[in-house]
C-alpha cells in the first residue's frame, strides 16, 4: 500500500488531469483508475464533486484569531492559577478591546470571595491617569445599590498592568435572558425599569455609566438585575493629550455610544439616556437600530451621528418568527402593533442626536414607560410630529441678529393667529402679513448657514408649533400658508421628499380653505418643484398639468418649473423654450427676485450642456451686471451666479483662464457660505475640472477630493451628486496614475450605491460600468471586468436595455473584449467563468441592432 503522501500526490496528478477534461472524458478517466484502484477512483470522484460544489467559495479568515493570539502572547503572565496580592485567577471569562477579564478568588483573613478582574491593556493607559483613577474609585466604591455590581479594588499588578476588581456576577445578558423566558413586551418593560432604577441611583450620586449595553446588564436566575462596569470607562477614558475621539476608539463600543461621545462632547446623563434607548430598542425589537455588524467604523459613526433610527417595526423582517415567539406572540402583526405608537416615541426620544432633546432624567423616561404599562397616554407623543419639523428648521440658521429680531416679532404675530384670535379682521390681516414676513426672512437667510449666529428659525417655529398641525382642520387657510412656506424652506435646504409631502398637504388645505385658483396653482407649482428635485417626475408633471388647468401656464413661475422638469428629464429643447419664456417674462423684476434669478441660472445650465456655452456665458455676465446694480457686494446671490458662470467661462475661454477665477470663487464661497456647504462642494468640482484641463492634475484631484468630502457631509453618501463626483474623482485618479487602489474603491462604491437606488434617476450607470470595466481590462483583469459588466443577478443587463444607443454600443464593445479576455472564446470553459460567459453571450445575441458581437472582430 502506498504511503498517504504518495496517495495525495497521485490524487493531485489525476485531479489536475481531470480538470482539463469534459465530463465524458472525465468519466472515462475515472473508470480507467477504477479498474486498477477502486478506492482511489472513489476518492478522486469525491474530490471532483467537492471542487464543483466549492466553486466560487472563499475560505474563512483566521485573521481575527491572529489578533487575539498576538495579544495573548503579550500577557503571558495572565493565566488561570496565577496569584498576586490577595487574588488568584480562576478562569478567563471575556476579552475585549480594553483587555481581558478573569473570574478570580479573593482571599481574606476569614473569607474567600468570587470576583471579576479586568486587566487593562498596558499600552492603553497613561500613568498619570492611573493616579487619578485611585481618587475616582472612592466615588465608585460608594455606589451601593443591589443592582449595581460593586467596585472592589483598582490597582496595578507587579509588572504594571492596571486592573479593576468587581463583584463577580452570575447571570445572563438581559436580552438573552428575556428571550429565553419568552417575556412579553410589558414584562420586558418591567425588567427594563429595574435597570432604570439602578441607573437613576448612580446618576443621583453623580456617576455616569458611559457604556450601557446589553452585555453589561446581567440578570440572575431569580430575575435580579446587575449592572456591570459602572463608571469605569470614565477614569480610564482620558489619556494624556490624546483626542477624545481616539480615546473613544479604545474604550467604548462605538455602536453603543451617543453621538456626542463620538465627537468628544461632554459626557453627561444624556449619554446614558441614549444608551438606554439603544438597550430598550434591542430588548423590544430584538435588534439595534442599525446593522452595525456589517458596517465599518466610519459608517457606524455616520449612522450614530447623522441617521435617524428607523422605527422598530421596520427592523423586524417578515420571517422573524423566532423573534415574535420570544416575545410571547404568535403573529408578526401582533408584535408590530405592540411596537408602534408610544413605545416607538419613547425610544426615539432617547435616541435623538441632540442631548438636549432627549429625556433629561432617567425618572422622566421611567415615568413614560410607567404610563405605557398603565395604558395612559404619554406627553412625549404630542410633540413628535413637531420634532421632525424642528429638525429641518434647525438646520436653517438665521444669519444675522437683524433677522433674529425680525423672527421674534413675527413669532408673536404667528402665535396670535394660531391661537384662533382671528375674529377681528384687521388682526387676521396683520397675522397674514406676518406670515409673508416670515417667508421673506427665510428667503434672506437662505441658503447661508453662518456658524455662531445661534438665534434660530427653530426657536421661532418652536414657539408657534404646538398649534399649527391642529389648524389643518380648523383653519386650513393659515395651515396652507404656513405649510407652503415651510415646504419652500425645506426645498431650499435640500429636503425635497419632505417638502413634497408638506406641499401636498398645503395644496389640500388650500382647497379646503377655498383659496383662489391662482393661489392653489402656486402651491401646486411648489409641489411640482419639490417632486422634480426628489426625482418623482411623473407626479411633478401631473401637478404642473393641474396648475396649467387652473390658468397658471402663462406665469413665469410655471414656465420655470416646467423648464426645470424638462431639463431633469433630458428634454433639452423644451427646457430651453420654457426657460427662455421665463427669462423674458421676468426681465422687469428686481435682482432680488427668486424666479428671475433661477430662470437665468437654469437656462444657462441647459445652454451649457447643449454646447451653447458662449450664450450661457453671455447670459450669466448679463445677469451679474444686472444684480451688481441692485445688490450689495458679497451678496450670496452674486456669489452663486459667479460660481455657475465658472463652467461656461472654462468652455468659452479655456481652463487656464478659468482657474484663477475659480480659486477666487472658492474663497468667496467659503467666506459667504461655509466650506461645508453644497455650494462649496459644487465650486470645488468646478475648480477641480478646470485645474485638470489646465494640466494641473495633482491639484485638480485634490480639489475634487475636497468636493467629494463636502458632498458626503452635506447631502450624504447616496446622493447622486456625491456619486457623480466620486466617479469623476475615480476617473481623474485613473488618468493621473499611481492611485489605482483609491480609484477602484471609488468605482466600486459608486456602482454599489447606485444599484441600491430604485427611484427614477439620471445616473449614467451603464456608462459607469463600462468605464470601470475598461479600467479593469487595462489591468488584465478580464473576468472581474466581465462580472462588473453583468453585475449581480444580471442587473446591468436590465439597465443596458434602457440605455442610450451610444452607451449601449460602447458597453457591448467592452463586454465583447472582457468576454474574450476572460476566456469565453475557448472551446472548454472553466466552470467558474461559465455562467458569466453564458450571460454575456445571451445578451450580445439579443442585441442584433448593434455592431459589436463575439464573432465579428472587424465590424463594418
Amino acid at each position: 500500500m502506498k504511503s498517504p503522501a504518495e496517495r495525495i500526490r497521485r490524487l493531485g496528478e489525476l485531479f489536475d488531469q481531470a480538470l482539463d477534461l469534459d465530463p465524458v472524458a472525465r468519466e472515462e478517466l475515472l473508470e480507467h483508475v477504477h479498474s486498477s484502484d477502486p478506492d482511489l477512483a472513489d476518492e478522486l470522484a469525491r474530490l471532483i464533486e467537492r471542487d464543483q460544489k466549492l466553486l466560487g467559495s472563499e475560505p474563512r479568515s483566521a485573521l481575527g484569531l491572529v489578533e487575539s493570539g498576538l495579544d495573548a502572547r503579550d500577557s503571558d503572565a495572565l493565566r488561570p492559577g496565577l496569584s498576586f496580592g490577595v487574588y488568584t485567577l480562576e478562569q478567563e471569562i471575556g476579552q475585549g478591546g480594553m483587555g481581558r477579564v478573569f473570574r478570580a478568588t479573593r482571599r481574606g483573613a476569614d473569607f474567600s470571595q468570587e470576583v471579576a478582574i479586568k486587566f487593562v491593556r498596558r499600552d492603553l493607559v497613561h500613568p498619570a491617569l492611573l493616579r487619578r483613577f485611585s481618587t475616582e474609585r472612592a466615588i465608585l466604591a460608594a455606589l451601593d445599590h443591589p443592582s449595581i455590581s460593586r467596585l472592589i479594588d483598582a490597582n496595578t499588578t507587579p509588572d504594571g498592568t492596571p486592573y479593576v476588581v468587581m463583584e463577580f456576577v452570575r447571570g445572563q445578558a438581559i436580552d438573552g435572558w428575556a428571550d429565553a423566558r419568552q417575556l412579553g413586551l410589558n414584562e420586558r418593560l418591567a425588567l427594563f425599569r429595574k435597570v432604570l432604577t439602578a441607573v437613576a441611583h448612580a446618576h443621583r450620586n453623580l456617576v455616569v455609566h458611559r457604556d450601557i449595553k446589553a452585555s453589561n446588564v446581567l440578570v440572575s436566575d431569580d430575575g435580579e438585575i446587575k449592572l456591570l462596569d459602572f463608571g469605569i470607562a470614565k477614569p480610564l477614558g482620558r489619556i494624556g493629550n490624546v483626542s477624545a475621539t481616539m480615546t473613544m476608539d479604545r474604550f467604548l463600543t462605538p455602536s453603543s455610544a451617543a453621538p456626542e461621545q463620538l465627537v468628544g462632547g461632554p459626557i453627561t446623563v444624556a449619554c446614558d439616556i441614549h444608551a438606554l434607548g439603544m438597550l430598550l430598542y434591542e430588548l423590544l425589537a430584538g435588534r439595534l437600530p442599525f446593522g452595525f455588524a456589517n458596517m465599518t467604523p466610519g459608517e457606524i459613526e455616520h449612522a450614530i451621528r447623522q441617521l435617524p433610527p428607523p422605527p422598530m417595526t421596520s427592523r423586524i423582517g417578515d420571517t422573524d418568527m423566532a423573534l415574535v415567539q420570544a416575545r410571547g406572540f404568535h403573529q408578526l402583526r401582533e408584535l408590530r402593533e405592540g411596537l408602534r405608537g408610544d413605545l416607538e416615541h419613547i425610544v426615539q426620544r432617547c435616541l435623538r442626536k441632540r442631548p438636549s432633546e432627549r429625556y433629561s432624567t432617567v425618572d422622566q423616561l421611567d415615568h413614560d414607560i410607567d404610563c405605557v404599562l398603565k395604558e395612559q397616554p404619554i406627553r412625549e407623543r404630542q410633540s413628535d410630529r413637531w420634532y421632525r419639523w424642528r429638525k429641518f428648521v434647525s438646520r436653517h440658521r438665521v444669519a444675522s441678529a437683524l433677522s433674529a429680531v425680525l423672527f421674534l416679532t413675527i413669532a408673536t404675530a404667528v402665535v396670535a393667529i394660531l391661537r384662533q384670535n382671528v375674529a377681528i379682521t384687521h388682526e387676521r390681516d396683520r397675522a397674514q402679513r406676518a406670515v409673508g414676513l416670515l417667508k421673506s426672512a427665510f428667503a434672506a437667510a437662505n441658503p447661508t448657514e453662518v456658524a455662531g449666529a445661534n438665534v434660530t428659525a427653530r426657536a421661532v417655529l418652536e414657539a408657534a408649533r404646538p398649534s399649527l398641525e391642529a389648524t389643518f382642520e380648523s383653519q386650513p387657510d393659515v395651515y396652507a400658508e404656513l405649510a407652503g412656506t415651510l415646504a419652500e424652506v425645506e426645498l431650499a435646504t435640500g429636503l425635497s421628499p419632505q417638502a413634497s409631502e408638506l406641499a401636498e398637504r398645503a395644496v389640500l388645505a388650500a382647497g379646503n380653505a377655498g383659496f383662489s385658483p391662482a393661489r392653489i396653482g402656486s402651491l401646486l407649482i411648489l409641489e411640482a418643484r419639490a417632486r422634480t428635485n426628489a426625482g418623482d417626475y411623473a407626479a411633478a408633471g401631473d401637478r404642473l398639468d393641474r396648475a396649467a388647468g387652473l390658468g397658471l401656464r402663462p406665469s413665469p413661475e410655471w414656465q420655470l418649473a416646467m423648464g426645470v422638469l424638462c431639463f431633469h428629464r433630458s428634454q433639452r429643447k423644451d427646457a430651453i423654450e420654457h426657460l427662455e419664456q421665463a427669462v423674458r417674462d421676468t426681465s422687469g423684476r428686481p435682482p432680488s427676485d427668486d424666479v428671475a434669478n433661477m430662470a437665468r441660472l437654469q437656462l444657462a445650465s441647459v445652454l451649457r450642456v447643449t454646447d451653447r456655452s458662449a450664450e450661457a456665458l453671455a447670459l450669466l455676465d448679463q445677469t451679474m451686471a444686472w444684480q451688481s446694480a441692485g445688490l450689495e457686494p458679497d451678496h450670496p446671490r452674486l456669489t452663486l451666479v459667479r460660481m455657475y458662470r465658472l463652467d461656461a467661462l472654462r468652455r468659452v475661454r479655456g481652463a487656464a483662464a478659468a482657474v484663477p477665477e475659480a480659486r477666487k470663487v472658492v474663497e468667496e464661497v467659503d467666506r459667504i457660505y461655509s466650506p461645508n456647504s453644497t455650494v462649496a462642494a459644487q465650486v470645488r468640482s468646478s475648480l477641480g475640472i478646470s485645474l485638470n484641463e489646465a494640466g494641473k492634475f495633482e491639484e485638480g484631484v485634490q480639489a475634487i477630493r475636497e468636493s467629494l468630502a463636502a458632498w458626503r457631509n452635506t447631502v450624504g453618501n447616496e446622493h447622486q451628486n456625491t456619486l457623480r463626483t466620486a466617479f469623476n474623482l475615480a476617473q481623474m485618479l485613473t488618468d493621473l496614475g499611481g492611485h489605482d487602489d483609491e480609484a477602484e474603491a471609488l468605482y466600486r462604491e459608486v456602482l454599489q450605491r447606485s444599484e441600491l437606488r430604485t427611484e427614477e434617476t439620471r445616473l449614467p450607470l451603464v456608462f459607469w460600468r463600462s468605464y470601470f470595466a475598461r479600467f479593469l481590462l487595462v489591468r488584465k483583469r478580464s473576468l472581474e471586468a466581465l462580472k462588473i459588466l453583468i453585475g449581480p443577478d444580471n442587473i446591468a443587463l436590465t439597465q443596458v436595455r434602457a440605455a442610450k444607443t451610444s452607451n449601449l454600443n460602447n458597453y457591448l464593445e467592452v463586454l465583447a473584449e472582457a468576454a474574450t479576455g476572460a476566456g469565453c472564446g475557448k472551446a472548454v470553459l472553466a466552470p467558474e467563468i461559465l455562467s458569466w460567459c453564458t450571460s454575456a453571450k445571451e445578451f450580445m445575441n439579443a442585441s442584433p441592432n448593434t455592431k459589436a458581437g463575439t464573432n465579428s472582430d472587424n465590424p463594418g
Binding site: 485531479f15 466549492l54 467559495s57 479568515s61 481575527g64 502572547r73 467604523p297
Partner: protein
C-alpha cells in the same frame, strides 16, 4: 547583515529550524503593529494581514537593517508565523471549544452573513493538522493554502511569492481546497493509519 536577515535567508533556503528564532524577533513587531491597526480602525475591523506584514517589514528594515531580496517573500514567513500564532493560541485555550463552521463558505452565503469572512468558529487546529499532512505530499500547494488563509494576499501576489503563475496557483488551490474540505468533513477518529 543583520541576524534577522540571515535567519530569513536560511528559512528561505528551507531551514525550518530557524522559525522559533524568527518568531521571537518578529512577533513583537507584529503585535505592536496589530494594536496600532486596532487603534486606527477600531475593533470592528478585521486585522489586515497584508498591511500588517508590509508594515512589519518596513519596521524591521528601518530599525534593524533587515534587507531581503524580495518583500513578497516576507509575506510568506509572516503567514507561517501568523498560522503559528493562531494554533498556539487555540492550543493554550482548549477549554474554549471552537469548531462548527465549515472552512469554506459559498459566495451566496457571504452576502447574507453578518460577518462574512470571520472564522472564529472554524476548527483551526484540525485545519492546521490537515494542512501539515497535506504539506508532506504537496508542499507547494500547501504553501498556497497557508498564504490564502493567513496572509490576506491576493492570488496574483501569492503567485509572485511562490514564483509561479496565477494559473498554477489556481489549480493548486482547487485541489487543496477539495482535499481539505473532504478531509475536514471526515468524522473524528475515522483516520487513516500513518
Amino acid at each position: 547583515m543583520s541576524s534577522i536577515t540571515e535567519l530569513l535567508d536560511r528559512w528561505k533556503r528551507g531551514d525550518r529550524s530557524v522559525e522559533d528564532a524568527l518568531a521571537t524577533d518578529i512577533y513583537p513587531v507584529l503585535r505592536e503593529l496589530a494594536r496600532a491597526q486596532v487603534r486606527r480602525h477600531g475593533n470592528a475591523l478585521t486585522l489586515r494581514a497584508t498591511e500588517l506584514a508590509n508594515e512589519a517589514y518596513e519596521r524591521l528594515h528601518v530599525q534593524q537593517g533587515v534587507n531581503w531580496q524580495n518583500r513578497a517573500h516576507f509575506h510568506a514567513i509572516a503567514a507561517t508565523l501568523m498560522r503559528r500564532v493562531v494554533v498556539d493560541y487555540l492550543r493554550e485555550r482548549q477549554a474554549e471549544k471552537r469548531g462548527g463552521d465549515q472552512l469554506f463558505i459559498a459566495l451566496d452565503d457571504m452576502q447574507q452573513r453578518e460577518t462574512p469572512s470571520q472564522g472564529d468558529h472554524v476548527d483551526w487546529l484540525a485545519v492546521d493538522q490537515a494542512l501539515t499532512e497535506f504539506a508532506q505530499a504537496a508542499p507547494d500547494a500547501a504553501r498556497v493554502v497557508e498564504l490564502r488563509l493567513f496572509s490576506g494576499l491576493t492570488k496574483e501576489e501569492i503567485a509572485e511569492v511562490c514564483g509561479s503563475s496565477r494559473a498554477t496557483v489556481g489549480r493548486q488551490w482547487r485541489f487543496a481546497r477539495a482535499w481539505l474540505a473532504e478531509r475536514l468533513d471526515v468524522v473524528p477518529g475515522d483516520e487513516e493509519p500513518g
